[in-house]
């Protein structure tokens, strides 16, 4: 466990020092801070517009950070040959991979916490909500964190066998498909014209691809008043899903990385 923690800590330090990530973070915070001025444009849905826009910025920025942070992790180590120094120590390849992943997740967590704090603070200043409402608004970023953890796992998996550029487009593509997957599946499944084979294929694809949309649970926060039964159970399921899927991707990455010549 010690080698994993050491690699994770080093990765967090590297992430914090990377200028490109800091610039994205800065732009994210900047965008968040101008959102309250948008709400004056809409008389009736002031709060809904403000929250949905803030979430959109938070999600978009986090995804960009997650992808850029992780796609370079392994290729850079190989290119700079620093991986030899690491692997010559009593560190196994799988430990290196897990350490990198954990470091990326920790760094992502830090950045999401920072952006969420700004978001919640702004929401509090401009809307003066009740403490319950404030907590409700602060809930969604946690699920974005889980979504980004999954996205980071996808990127790390691809980075074991592709170049950063290919990885960038692959990851963005997978994330895009993962966010529209449930609606797509639903459309096919509910389409009476679709053949049973198509429906089965749609079902399989939905089950096999990472469903990032599971973490998009913001609608009841944006439009309050909706009653959802057994929500806690659902939250437990999606946490488990993120852990299982990420673990699966890491294991698949380990299998590939173990065979790779560096």
């Amino acid at each position: 466990m010690r080698p994993i923690m050491a690699i994770a800590t080093t990765t967090v330090g590297e992430a914090i020092r990377r200028r490109v990530l800091l610039i994205i973070l800065f732009i994210g915070v900047l965008l968040l801070s101008i959102i309250p001025s948008l709400s004056v444009l809409t008389a009736r849905s002031e709060q809904s517009t403000m929250i949905s826009t803030m979430y959109a910025v938070l999600r978009g920025t986090s995804a960009l950070i997650a992808i850029i942070l992780t796609i370079y992790m392994i290729p850079n180590e190989i290119e700079r040959r620093t991986i030899y120094t690491i692997l010559s120590k009593p560190v196994m390849r799988w430990q290196f991979l897990v350490g990198k992943f954990m470091g990326a997740v920790l760094a992502l967590g830090l950045m999401i916490v920072l952006m969420s704090s700004v978001m919640v603070l702004l929401f509090y200043i401009f809307q003066q909500p009740s403490p319950e409402r404030l907590l409700e608004v602060a809930r969604q970023p946690f699920f974005y964190f889980l979504e980004m953890m999954l996205l980071a796992a996808v990127c790390i998996f691809f980075s074991t066998f592709t170049t950063p550029l290919v990885n960038f487009f692959l990851s963005i593509g997978i994330w895009g498909v993962g966010t529209v997957l449930s609606p797509l599946y639903s459309s096919i499944a509910s389409n009476s014209g679709a053949s049973p084979i198509m429906q089965s294929v749609a079902k399989f694809v939905t089950g096999a691809m990472p469903a990032f949309s599971n973490y998009d649970v913001k609608n009841p926060i944006i439009n309050p008043g909706q009653v959802i039964e057994n929500e806690q159970k659902y939250f437990i399921y999606i946490v488990l899903y993120a852990i299982l899927y990420s673990a699966g991707l890491l294991v698949a990455g380990m299998v590939i990385f173990d065979k790779r010549e560096v």
């Binding site: 809904s48 517009t49 949905s52 826009t53 609608n219 299982l244 380990m254």
Partner: protein
């Protein structure tokens, strides 16, 4: 320790199967039911907006578009608002405000030069309400808004508003003041007993709440209002002879509605200019407050029926109304027992196309005592028992219906059934006058002749008076004549029609 490849593959298979089981078995349907914001993909978006939509920023996009719609509202550009409303409801069907505003906008804001609504849009407004209530079943709002369109805008077929108000009542968040409206809807559908029972139910609930929380002034006010409503309703039930009718001894006493009053309805339509008509008629009731509904419509359009259209005919939101259909609805306000109104349809060819689809058009006159103001109903009764007309009283124009709720499934009531009520049918004054397309457009033989159609009992002499239509309301305080008034001449003019008895 280095994990073996087979062990890794085993773990990989286990995690893959595990996540798939979770996703398909437990997560997917729950997410779709509770968190999915879209009903499908919104079309007509720009590429960047489509991209935002694809990446799950639907609510954000809906919010931004709604901001844009607000600015169109401010500019009065109502045509531009309509597609945006539809896009927003597709992108985020949980935004109740958009549905509520959209329904109001569609039903009320498309008007002609004289502020008459384009009623061809009403089925779309109702379809939007149906969709919104399906998407947001946990709040009363869209059930209430849909019921309100039936109650206030269509102002007819009150069994429909009852159905929607009843569904709104089942939602806990309904505002107390709005709960009263169901009692009014019951009364308008001649379900007087149900109206009274609803008031009693609300009163019992409010009184119980007030007993528990006496320091809440709002509860006291609600209780007082309900007491007054109950009081007024019971007095009316007695005075209008409704209770006596129920008991079966109405013939023993003279009630306000005893001896139905003959309203002496007559009507005439003159086509003054192409697409400009003057409607005139008589209504022998002196107190103000009567409005005769006037409808001009295609005679042969299957979507139109007697003084109405198939309001409930749309289940899908189609924002483009039947462009070649003509349907106008206005009201003739009765003053001094006459109504006289000029209706100009020439300035709005898109609303009143008088297309070749119909060779004939109907000008319909419709008076339903169920929609009448309360002081008129005090004489006419809830169902027009106190009203008659020698020539035009009809009991076949509006049948009496009610929706019977089906099985209750949690918060939902499924399988509502529409059934005819075994009660005296609605007593309505109705007639229609036919005009040909050539007549209404003043074409062919009618270029230099003025088309006039009228009921056989129409008495033109009642419209030859030159006296201004001044309504004299005598008061107890003063019987002094108005400056410059000639009461004898005015009275002579008012009583011009032979054989009528002013009330």
């Amino acid at each position: 320790m280095r994990p073996t490849k087979s062990k890794l593959l085993g773990i990989l298979a286990a995690t893959f199967v595990g996540q798939m089981a979770l996703q398909v078995g437990a997560i997917q349907d729950f997410w779709k039911k509770n968190y999915w914001s879209g009903q499908g993909f919104a079309e007509s978006l720009s590429p960047d907006q489509t991209l935002l939509q694809l990446f799950g920023f639907r609510e954000f996009l809906a919010g931004i578009l709604w901001v844009r719609a607000d600015s169109f509202f401010d500019e009065g550009n109502y045509d531009a608002v309509l597609p945006i409303i539809r896009l927003c409801t597709i992108l985020d069907p949980k935004q109740i405000d958009i549905y509520a505003t959209g329904m109001w906008h569609i039903a009320y804001n498309f008007t002609d030069e004289e502020q008459r609504s384009d009623r061809r849009y009403i089925p779309s407004a109702l379809a939007l309400g149906k969709e919104g209530s399906r998407q947001n079943p946990n709040t009363y709002e869209l059930f209430f808004e849909t019921g309100w369109i039936w109650y206030h805008k269509i102002d007819d077929d009150y069994h429909q508003s009852i159905k929607w108000f009843r569904q709104a009542q089942e939602r806990e968040d309904m505002l107390p003041a709005r709960r009263n409206l169901l009692a009014n809807a019951f009364q308008r559908n001649n379900q007087v007993r149900e109206g009274l029972e609803h008031y009693w139910k609300l009163y019992a609930e409010t009184a119980a709440d007030y007993e528990k929380q006496k320091d809440i002034y709002q509860l006291f006010q609600q209780k007082e209002t309900l007491e007054q409503n109950l009081d007024t309703m019971i007095v009316r039930m007695v005075q209008r002879g409704w209770l006596a009718q129920e008991r079966g001894d109405a013939s023993q006493t003279v009630y306000d509605t005893t001896e139905p009053f003959d309203v002496g309805f007559t009507a005439r339509v003159i086509v003054d200019e192409p697409k400009v008509i003057r409607v005139q008629g008589t209504w022998n009731v002196l107190p103000v407050g009567t409005r005769i509904r006037i409808i001009v419509r295609d005679a042969d359009n299957p979507n139109f029926t007697l003084a109405a259209m198939d309001w409930d005919g749309q289940n899908e939101v189609v924002l483009d109304p039947e462009r070649d259909a003509t349907y106008l609805q206005d009201q003739g306000f009765v003053k001094n027992r006459r109504f006289n109104k000029r209706i100009d349809m020439s300035k709005d060819p898109t609303m009143y196309p008088f297309s070749r689809k119909s060779e004939n058009f109907l000008v319909e006159f419709y008076y339903n005592p169920r929609s009448a103001s309360l002081h008129v109903q005090d004489k006419f009764g809830w169902n027009g028992e106190g009203m008659t007309d020698k020539a035009f009283l009809r009991t076949d124009v509006r049948k009496d219906y009610e929706w019977v709720p089906g099985e209750k499934n949690g918060k939902y009531t499924d399988g509502w059934k529409l059934q005819e009520r075994q009660t005296p049918p609605a007593r309505i004054v109705y007639t229609s006058l036919k005009l040909s397309r050539d007549q209404i457009l003043r074409k062919g033989d009618w270029i230099d002749k003025t088309p006039i159609v009228q009921t056989s009992n129409f008495d033109a002499s009642r419209f030859s008076v030159t006296t201004e239509d001044i309504i004299d309301v005598p008061t107890l305080r003063s019987s002094a004549p108005r400056p410059g008034a000639n009461p004898e001449k005015e009275q002579e003019a008012i009583q011009g029609a032979p054989g009528t008895t002013p009330r």
